[in-house]
């Protein structure tokens, strides 16, 4: 039996980064306030490695993202802490025009082992400019891996995979307060991209829950269980690549699909998953697909308003319940 340690998600990311920095001297870390690690996912890294491996930068997001491409060309594996995912918008040229495209554009000459880490999501009254869940925008670029760890073990395993990957990878970590506590296996622990995890088995309805939405999805499944509805909860773990086989496999078992995504509805990851299942799994479906997302609004500041727009367990449970019971309402 593997030894485990209980670790907060942000500490697990730190542990993964430290292991990769130990393993490969070409791994360097930079970003705004990384030396003190205001975000919390790099605590103690500066004290251990010093300024040639990790350093604070000016508040210059255009350059923070752009420099990764030059560092990659110079043989480094940069890891950039972007703080809030909203700040990617400021650094978007290098993301949208350079790192996502230059491998193809150079005919495969340029490898881009770049890792970008940012916190995403609301729930902390940070208001709309610090609460976005911006992975749909990154997914649409085509040349970037997107990881959305929901557990401490996955956070460590996915960040290690990202740093070793020859491709640009974005890690979206949940916003605020260290994340969930969870078990992390001791020793080398890598989680491959493109393999979803079944977090709870069930036969009546599949709930695909992305990133931080895993917790309310599991709570909804527990509620439904009390009502005699058996929900299967699937965590995709990475959105690019997406484990379509696992999602279709689960839908094949249940015939019903709810997708929970904290991103806004329009062109969300949930929309992409819904499209994949509609195109490739239509005969499997016994009911329409439901997306539970943040509506197409800016995240409000007030806690009660935030709680209303962010998907929660009651909304998830209501959607799953409705799908699971609708056939029963039809007279035989």
């Amino acid at each position: 039996m593997t030894a485990m340690a209980r670790t907060r998600l942000l500490q697990a990311i730190r542990d993964g980064i430290v292991e990769e920095m130990d393993r490969d001297p070409k791994v360097i870390v930079y970003g705004e306030d990384v030396e003190l690690s205001i975000v919390g996912d790099l605590r103690g890294v500066y004290e251990r490695f010093g300024p040639d491996r990790i350093r604070n930068t000016p508040i210059s997001e255009t350059s923070l993202t752009g420099m990764t491409v030059g560092l990659a060309a110079a043989g480094y594996r940069p890891v950039v802490q972007m703080m809030f995912a909203n700040f990617m918008y400021t650094g978007m040229d290098a993301i949208g025009n350079q790192m996502s495209k230059l491998r193809l554009m150079t005919g495969g000459q340029l490898e881009l082992p770049i890792t970008i880490i940012a916190t995403c999501g609301g729930g902390s009254s940070n208001a709309a400019q610090h609460s976005d869940t911006s992975y749909p925008m990154i997914m649409n670029l085509g040349g970037i891996n997107v990881a959305v760890p929901a557990t401490s073990a996955d956070a460590k395993g996915l960040v290690k995979t990202a740093i070793r990957s020859p491709n640009p990878c974005f890690i979206f970590e949940p916003n605020g307060r260290g994340g969930e506590l969870g078990e992390v296996p001791d020793g080398e622990h890598l989680v491959p991209f493109g393999r979803a995890a079944i977090r709870r088995e069930g036969g009546d309805v599949t709930i695909v829950a992305i990133g931080r939405m895993l917790k309310p999805a599991l709570a909804a499944a527990a509620l439904l269980d009390d009502e005699g509805v058996s929900a299967e909860v699937l965590d995709p773990r990475t959105l690019v690549p997406l484990d379509e086989v696992a999602i279709l496999g689960s839908v094949g078992k249940t015939g019903r699909l709810v997708i929970v995504d904290e991103a806004r509805e329009c062109c969300s990851a949930a929309s992409q998953i819904a499209a994949v299942v509609a195109e490739r799994g239509f005969p499997l479906l016994k009911a329409p697909i439901r997306r539970i997302t943040t509506p197409n609004v800016a995240m409000p500041y007030a806690p009660n308003a935030e709680a209303q727009v962010i998907p929660g367990e009651l909304r998830i449970a209501a959607a799953a319940r409705e799908l699971a019971t609708r056939d029963a309402k039809v007279p035989a």
Partner: protein, 366 residues
């Protein structure tokens, strides 16, 4: 319009480049021949592309460097294959001067499988990573942060290896100097003393807008604000560019941090070939202005100087010209005879294969 040579006469500033020894430096005969050859190669390639673009032989647009050859030639003469350079949408000259292969470049522009980027990048994106050519780039100013990243890497590597430093050069234009990335990277490069050489090719135009209409103050002053050493040079004088670049590259190699060269030059061709279609009769400059700059042609000036100084005879230079004509002819023939690009690459080149140890990783889900 302040695109004329009169704008060259700037006052000097404390801390600017140009000590006595450097002022006297001149290229050796071998170096001078190489500068001449590089400029002529770029000119003949660009003229051929101009003609073939007009004849409808090229699949995409080309942005030509005619009239600006002295900048790429003068700067890249100091660079090694291990040094880095980022370029612009007007990038053929930088590619060739930094040692890129003319055949592979032409095949790329002709969208052929033999192209340096296998037909996936085209004219605006020619790159050869094996020679430190980080690529022409279709986004104005994008090279600033890429070159800064390469310079950061070079600085970290030189600290690791205790070797003489690698240098990163960023070619950009007066248009890019209005991107915020210039301020961001000047700050970083000065703060971290990165081995970065900024080469601002002030060719007088941001696409179709005269620089004076969109650019306040002197561009070089933007570097002075960060205490980065500055040289403002006649960009049509290859010796002046060569001299300023020599100082800047030496400073970067020795760990002396960034430098900024503003080379005043002129874009003889339009923003891109076939621009008359988008202009549909509109004008943004006068023919007389173009003619004035034709009189200051960098190749003709350097050729005359080489002959007058006795460094070369007209026959020597004619022989170089003839050799270049053959090389360009050969490169176009190579491009035309190439295989069409492989469309499947569009589906397979986006991601590099992940390492095997990940593919075989036994790690499971829940």
């Amino acid at each position: 319009m302040t695109t004329g040579l009169d704008a060259m006469a700037g006052e000097s500033h404390p801390g600017d480049q140009g000590g006595q020894s450097a002022r006297g430096a001149t290229p050796s005969a071998v170096e001078a021949f190489r500068l001449y050859e590089t400029m002529v190669l770029i000119r003949r390639v660009e003229e051929r592309l101009r003609d073939d673009s007009a004849a409808g032989k090229l699949p995409g647009a080309v942005h030509l460097y005619i009239g600006e050859e002295a900048v790429a030639a003068g700067v890249c003469a100091h660079l090694r294959a291990t040094d880095y350079a980022t370029s612009t949408h007007r990038g053929h000259g930088h590619f060739l001067a930094k040692g890129g292969d003319v055949r592979a470049m032409m095949a790329e522009i002709w969208a052929k499988r033999e192209g340096i980027c296998r037909g996936m990048g085209g004219s605006m994106h020619v790159a050869d990573l094996s020679k430190g050519i980080l690529g022409a780039n279709g986004i104005v100013g994008a090279g600033l942060s890429i070159a800064t990243g390469a310079a950061f890497g070079a600085k970290l590597a030189s600290a690791d290896q205790h070797s003489e430093g690698t240098v990163s050069v960023c070619f950009f234009g007066d248009g890019a100097s209005n991107q915020g990335a210039l301020m961001e990277t000047l700050n970083l490069a000065a703060l971290w003393q990165l081995p970065l050489v900024y080469v601002c090719e002030n060719n007088g135009f941001s696409e179709f807008t005269p620089a004076a209409h969109v650019t306040a103050g002197r561009i070089a002053d933007r570097a002075r604000a960060f205490a980065v050493p500055v040289a403002e040079v006649d960009g049509n004088d290859v010796t002046a560019v060569w001299r300023a670049a020599g100082e800047a590259v030496s400073r970067a190699r020795a760990g002396g941090g960034p430098s900024f060269i503003e080379a005043r030059t002129y874009r003889i061709q339009g923003h891109f070939e076939a621009e008359s279609f988008v202009l549909s009769g509109g004008r943004y400059r006068e023919e007389a202005e173009i003619e004035q700059w034709r009189q200051a042609d960098p190749i003709a000036r350097f050729r005359a100087r080489l002959v007058e100084s006795g460094t070369a005879t007209a026959a020597d230079l004619d022989r170089i010209d003839a050799g270049i004509a053959d090389r360009v002819q050969d490169a176009v023939a190579y491009a035309e005879a190439g295989q069409p690009a492989d469309p499947a690459l569009a589906m397979t080149l986006m991601f590099a294969p992940e390492p095997n140890d990940l593919a075989n990783d036994p790690s499971k889900g829940a």
